[in-house]
Structure formats: structure tokens, C-alpha cells
């Protein structure tokens, strides 16, 4: 029944964007936008986690989401923005994702306060908008449960754009506050005593809170339409360590071509953990409707106390996708991903698998991951 309910919702909202336009009331005083999608996922064994979907060896339709963004302008310089969501990613949840007030002090300075979408890299702020990317899900090495990409920060920030020389521009964001992100650490079962101490324990993404965060992002705008270069960084405190993240991003997009690449390093010194990750992807429109895409992403963790040769510490994947764009606001996507390593694709009962075969032989090192879905925005 839940599957039927999810897909009825999906079909209903998917028909709406054929008009592909935000709902604008009172000449911009209230604007309503939406984005969402639904997907079928299946793997040949391991479970795969991402922010937008989950996949397992039993095929699942339980990957549906709908986001509604309401922007209210009580005056010319003040905007209050809220995102409410309904999703069924493994389980049904509804709620308020973010909500903040923005005051435009000058044309180049805006102040923000509340639960604000985290400005990180190319895609973190637009994660719910599948119509802005060629693959159904964002690359998991950067935007998955890799302990860097929080949805939002709760605090205050400034943002804006200043002109530089020529037609170059510099966009900036600086913020401070608290945030939380999804993290999954299957290698924790390999830390001394863990496998024996927690038999039958499931390893799935959990929320981890980062306090006292200070961070920012700089984005260079160039006269070459479609070229985007960014650097993002933040520092904060986890329960048992500090966390530092630096992420470099570049993208170039024309009507036919799209190239994106991002890479990061994050460190938690007190617990001896360092992560590197990144991806490259390219997409090409054979026709305005048909798009093909390829993607490679990778992640590597070094954790004191865990053998560096463990397959639970690395992730490498190659993916290919085929999309059909009904309109720029409605797209059907399929993709197949070949994953090596178990950093981000592993059996959730990883402790049991290790208890049966401590040398990791009980865990398949490779995973095939298939996704077919529909995404829309308006």
C-alpha cells in the first residue's frame, strides 16, 4: 500500500510541472516553488545509501519525495523562506526542512538568520532539485553519508555578490551556527572490540551534530557563461573531535554539455580520521530531450586503529546514465553504477558479516546499483 501511495503522490505532482512555472501570488509577495521525484532502486547485494534514496538487493519503490518552498516578501528588502517536505526514503517522514529570514541590506549584502540551507560546493543548496543534474542522485562520495554535507546550518550568515575587474564577479557566503549531517561508518565494526561488542548491530546513516561551526564559500563568476569555480570550507566541533572540511568545485555548462568536478578533504584529528573524496561527471544532450551522462566518484578514509587495506575504508564507482527530458522541469532518468569497496555500499548487518568472516570475505567487495526514476520542479 505504501508503494501505491508514494507513486500516486509522485504522478500527481509530476503532472504539475508540465506548466513549469512557480506559483506567483500578489505580484511576487508570495511565491510557491516545488521539486521532487520518485525512483525504483535495486542492487545485486549490498545496501547503498544516499541523501535522496536508498538501495538494496530487494528492489524498492520507497524513494519518493516532494518539497514545497514558500517565499513571502513582507517588504521589498525582507524575505521569509520555508521548505516543507514529504518523503518516503525507506520510511515516511514529513516536516520543515529549513526556514529563515533574509534582509537585503544593500545590493551586495544580505543577512540571513534561522535554519538556512548550507552553502557548500556546487549542489548542496539545490540537492532537492533533480532537474539541475544528469543523475538521479548527487554523487555519494561528496553528498552522501560522507560526513561533510549537512542539509542546513542553524545560525546567522551573510551572502552576496560583488563585481570584480572586467566581467568577473565574486559571490560569497559566511556563516556561523550549528548543523548536523548523515554519517555512516561501516569500518567502526573493524575497530578493536566493536564486532564482538555489538552483534547484530545495523550500520545505517545516523545524524551527527556539529557545533560552533564557522564556515564560508567563495564563488568566482566569469564572463564565460556557464563556468563556475568555488571553494568552500568550514570548521566545527563534533562530540569527540573537531572537524575541518575544505571542498574545491568547478563546473562548466552549455545547452548541450555539462562538466562538473569536486574534491574535498576532511579531518577529525582527535580520533585520527581523515577523509578524501571527489567526483567528475560529464553529460551531453544528443537531442533537447535525450541526455547521456557518465560519472566517476571515489572516497577514501584513513582511520587510526583500522587496517588501511580494509575494503570498508574505500569507495570507487563508475556510473552511466540515460535521461529523457519531457520539459526542462520534468525528466525521466535511469542509471547503472558499478561500485568497488564498502565505504558507502555495504550490508547493514556488517557486524554479523564480520563475525562470520573476520577477514571481510563475507562482504561482497563490488556492488551494481540500478536506479530508474522521475524528477520534476516548478
Amino acid at each position: 500500500m505504501a508503494n501505491v501511495r508514494s507513486w500516486k503522490l509522485l504522478l500527481a505532482v509530476a503532472l504539475a510541472p508540465l506548466a513549469a512555472r512557480a506559483i506567483d501570488l500578489a505580484d511576487g509577495k508570495l511565491t510557491v516553488n516545488g521539486a521532487g521525484g520518485g525512483a525504483f532502486t535495486i542492487t545485486d547485494g549490498n545496501d547503498v545509501f544516499n541523501t535522496e534514496l536508498v538501495g538494496g538487493h530487494v528492489g524498492s519503490f520507497k524513494n519518493a519525495e516532494f518539497n514545497l518552498i514558500l517565499a513571502v516578501k513582507p517588504s521589498d528588502r525582507i524575505t521569509i523562506v520555508t521548505l516543507v517536505f514529504f518523503d518516503e526514503i525507506g520510511q515516511i517522514s514529513t516536516g520543515l526542512d529549513w526556514s529563515f529570514v533574509e534582509f537585503m541590506a544593500t545590493d551586495w549584502l544580505k543577512l540571513r538568520a534561522g535554519e538556512v540551507k548550507l552553502p557548500l560546493g556546487l549542489s548542496n543548496e539545490v540537492e532537492p532539485i533533480g532537474t539541475l543534474r544528469p543523475f538521479y542522485a548527487l554523487p555519494s562520495a561528496v553528498y552522501g553519508p560522507s560526513s561533510i554535507a549537512a542539509d542546513t546550518y542553524f545560525g546567522v550568515g551573510v551572502t552576496g555578490e560583488v563585481p570584480l575587474f572586467g566581467n568577473f564577479r565574486l559571490g560569497y557566503d559566511f556563516y556561523g551556527g550549528n548543523m548536523s549531517f548523515d554519517t555512516a561508518e561501516p569500518f567502526s565494526a573493524r575497530q578493536p572490540g566493536q564486532a564482538a561488542a555489538v552483534p547484530r548491530a545495523a550500520v545505517a546513516p545516523v545524524k551527527e551534530t556539529v557545533r560552533n561551526v564557522l564556515g564560508g564559500r567563495l564563488a568566482l563568476g566569469t564572463p564565460l557563461d556557464g563556468l563556475d569555480v568555488r571553494v568552500s570550507a568550514y570548521r566545527g566541533s563534533l562530540e569527540d573531535s573537531s572537524l575541518e572540511v575544505v571542498l574545491l568545485s568547478a563546473a562548466y555548462e552549455t545547452d548541450k554539455w555539462l562538466f562538473r568536478a569536486e574534491g574535498y578533504r576532511s579531518g577529525q584529528r582527535a580520533i585520527g580520521q581523515v577523509n578524501h573524496g571527489g567526483y567528475v561527471e560529464a553529460a551531453y544532450h544528443l537531442t533537447p530531450e535525450v541526455q547521456v551522462a557518465v560519472q566517476a566518484d571515489a572516497m577514501r578514509t584513513h582511520q587510526v586503529g583500522v587496517d588501511d587495506g580494509s575494503r570498508l575504508l574505500y569507495h570507487r564507482s563508475l556510473g552511466a546514465g540515460l535521461d529523457y527530458w519531457f520539459t526542462p522541469a520534468l525528466v525521466a532518468k535511469t542509471s547503472l553504477q558499478y561500485i568497488q569497496g564498502n565505504r558507502l555500499a555495504f550490508p547493514t548487518q556488517v557486524s554479523d558479516a564480520l563475525a562470520r568472516a573476520p577477514n571481510e570475505a563475507g562482504i561482497s567487495e563490488t556492488t551494481l546499483f540500478f536506479i530508474a526514476g522521475l524528477q520534476f520542479s516548478f
Partner: protein
């Protein structure tokens, strides 16, 4: 001192990027404002910033709020306006507004279905600015000259 190869490469790249300009032909539309508007000319760059909601007040008119109004999405005049004013592709501007709106960074200007409705909106709002086809009979609005830079 001779510049290094890497410095030369950077200079060449910056030059190429600066050269990457759009269509310089005359615009296929006329820009209209409310008769009360004191501004006589506007640069293409300023016009672009007003329609991308990066400039919220008229700089040469006591800070009166700018109220851009767009033609219908997909119309030929809107596509021509995007290419000439923003020097960007229609898809790029569409993605810009998707990113802005769905990340809570801003909403696009209201849109009207034809020249008459655009002129009605501009006539009703002192800070409004819109664009209509070259052959449109103006009513309740005045044209404003757009300079290349």
C-alpha cells in the same frame, strides 16, 4: 623580468574569458518604464541586474524600488531579451532561477502574457520596468534608452 609560461597562460585565459561577449546587434524589443520614472537611460548590465533581481532600487531615482516584469516564458520576445540583455542562454537563465528559487535565494519577476499586460503592469507601478515588441503601440508607459555598457 620575463613573465613565466604559467603567468602568460593565465593572462591569455583571462583575456579569452573577457572577450567572451554576447550578441552586439540592436535589441529586438523596447524597454518601457512608468512615465513618473526620472531615469532616461540604462546600461545593458544594469538592466540585466534588475531582471536577475540583483539590484533592488533605482540608483538615479531616490532609491525607488525596481519592479521588473517579464514576458511569458517561452515567448520569442523573452528569449530575445535574455540573449541580448543577460548574454546567456535561455536554459542557463532558467537554471539560474531554479537554483535561486528552490534554494531560497530569490524569486523571478512576475510575468505577463503579452505587450498589453506588461504595459498595464508598468503603468500601475511607478518603479516598474518591462519590455515590449518593437511595433507595440505604447500606452501609459514611456520608453527608456538602453546603452551597450
Amino acid at each position: 623580468m620575463q613573465p613565466r609560461k604559467s603567468q602568460l597562460a593565465v593572462i591569455v585565459l583571462l583575456g579569452a574569458l573577457s572577450f567572451a561577449a554576447g550578441n552586439e546587434a540592436e535589441p529586438a524589443f523596447q524597454v518601457v518604464v512608468n512615465p513618473a520614472n526620472e531615469v532616461k537611460t540604462i546600461s545593458r548590465d544594469e538592466l540585466s541586474k534588475i531582471f536577475l533581481r540583483k539590484v533592488l532600487a533605482w540608483r538615479r531615482w531616490d532609491g525607488e524600488a525596481t519592479l521588473p516584469v517579464d514576458q511569458k516564458e517561452g515567448s520569442a520576445i523573452r528569449d530575445a531579451f535574455i540573449l541580448w540583455v543577460h548574454k546567456r542562454s535561455v536554459l542557463a537563465v532558467s537554471h539560474y532561477w531554479q537554483q535561486q528559487a528552490l534554494s531560497g535565494r530569490g524569486a523571478p519577476p512576475p510575468e505577463r502574457s503579452n505587450d498589453t499586460q506588461v504595459m498595464e503592469y508598468v503603468a500601475d507601478n511607478p518603479g516598474a520596468i518591462g519590455y515590449v515588441s518593437l511595433g507595440a503601440r505604447l500606452s501609459g508607459v514611456k520608453t527608456i534608452q538602453v546603452t551597450a555598457e
